[in-house]
Symmetry: C2
Subunit: 356 residues, 2 copies
Amino acid sequence: MKALRWHGREDLRIDEIHEPAPRPGEVTVEVGFCGICGSDLNEFLVGPGVITTDPHPATGGLAPLTIGHEFAGRIVELGEGVSDAALDDRVVVNPSISCGRCFYCRNGQYIRCSELASIGMHCDGGMARYVSVPASSLHRLPDNIGDDVAATVEPLTVAMRAVQRGGLKSGDTVSIVGAGPIGLMTLLMARAAGAAAVFVVEPSPVRRKVASELGAAGAFDPAHCDVAREIQRSTPGKAGTDLAFECAGAPAALKTAISSTRRGGSIVILGVFKEAAELDLNEVMQCERNLLGSHGASDSLFDPVIQMIADGRLDPAPLITRRISLDDAVEHGFRALATSRDEQIKVLVRPGNGSI
Amino acid sequence: MKALRWHGREDLRIDEIHEPAPRPGEVTVEVGFCGICGSDLNEFLVGPGVITTDPHPATGGLAPLTIGHEFAGRIVELGEGVSDAALDDRVVVNPSISCGRCFYCRNGQYIRCSELASIGMHCDGGMARYVSVPASSLHRLPDNIGDDVAATVEPLTVAMRAVQRGGLKSGDTVSIVGAGPIGLMTLLMARAAGAAAVFVVEPSPVRRKVASELGAAGAFDPAHCDVAREIQRSTPGKAGTDLAFECAGAPAALKTAISSTRRGGSIVILGVFKEAAELDLNEVMQCERNLLGSHGASDSLFDPVIQMIADGRLDPAPLITRRISLDDAVEHGFRALATSRDEQIKVLVRPGNGSI
């Protein structure tokens, strides 16, 4: 079968590889759609970052390997000993694999596992027609969620994790700095969690428009206004939002996120930073703000996200702006996102033979 | 009467001023002891910082004014309408005065009042024999706490606030970076709150010795060892403490505090920073750490601190290294702290005629 494999920076290739067979405890999934994540793009443009060129301690995996960790599909083969999954089950896959032995795994915090591995980064992922994954990574899909929308479940769990980390309460006001896929998903998730008003800060007019269509109470261009002041004006009394989400991974964005929050407010950091940020910590200390890191997603969040999509409270469909075949994945997926990032939000790849 | 008044940077003077009379709702306190706080020293060395040279919106106060906000004494006169205090009551004073009208005051978060004022910064404070203060700022002292120890109650509430902000739980491991008065008080408070082991990071050998005497499980010199690695070694499994307190207000100290904590750990920032800090935010994001600002103290914490001193769980007496008269306050207090800071921890001034 064909697979999109990462060989090195700027070196993604369509390789011909053997179809995988499930090992004991695994199932083989026929992938319906697999999304391109910002971290995949990062591996392409400036990697290796998360991908290792040495064998990963948890999976033994090393490059070259099939990329892709945001995917959903159908079970086509069961490995030995798998009893809680059935052929033809439609599933989304939690890509995180933890060691099970360290302090964090022993205490139910597997997301903090010091040897955490990811399918699509440390072993073959979803950018191929078939992939074998542990049965313990599966979350069943209801019939009313298609494989395309289901491919957004994984990044939506990242947004849900961030909303949980920030302790968002019904009625809170929220600022989101950076309206890429994760920022926009955090907007959807914050509204679904009861946020009273969500303000979005984003330089791209295309993305600001999408943010407004998705229910943002305001969408500000940081190049053309004093965003913190606008948000302070929009939150009378408190003079700032209760909660901000930094979804850009940029020092200037973090400063905006901090100054957009009220005294005692929290700033959740989701962005991956490419450079050190110079901060005036007195803005944190004197105003008793909280800077809270949020990373990845907990296995326990997949089913709630699926539930909220199924019953209509979350609708990520508008975020899917392009569906392409595996052959087009590099040119119309990775390169398109790299060169004109704000024209696309979520690009999905169809690695099999189904219609796009 | 004599009063130690701030006129400007490097300009503290013993002035002769009128004895204050209590306004309605106020009492006059004869000050037993008044401590010199790091923020007082800051006003002396690089002020005006907190002190305003314009009238403060809440108190109308402006320099020159009597400095000092860590004090205790005895009520000698009651203003009109004061019914919940009596002559000769021994009291400690909460120096914070909030506006009572803003969003934060209306929602019980007066410490976040946007017009928060402090006795000794925005109106006359404790470095004089008599001071008039609102009756609502008083906390009664039991007989077994002397005025000297009582003068440490205010900074101890700052330490208690920090311990609360960090969510310290019984059994937690803790690192404290910077063993000045606030760092050492945080050590006492963390142990009183059930911390299993507290590691202190401090360049001064004198202060490291005090930290060990006060119960630190380890006291590390950042100039001579890789502190984060030592603390990681001392916390097997977790590879880092649950909680760190940054009590130095220095970028290098904050980096040490962050890297000394485990994944998912919290770093409480108490220090006042004189410069911007350059941080790798991925250490916050990827390890899901929390940076939590802590500022000042809540009125509700004075009575619990008094209770814990009274029943012996907190003993701040070893932190009092010098007691001086008002006449000696500048030379043997402020200048001594400025030039050989690590020889003194808490210096107390006796503004009246009592014995030192």
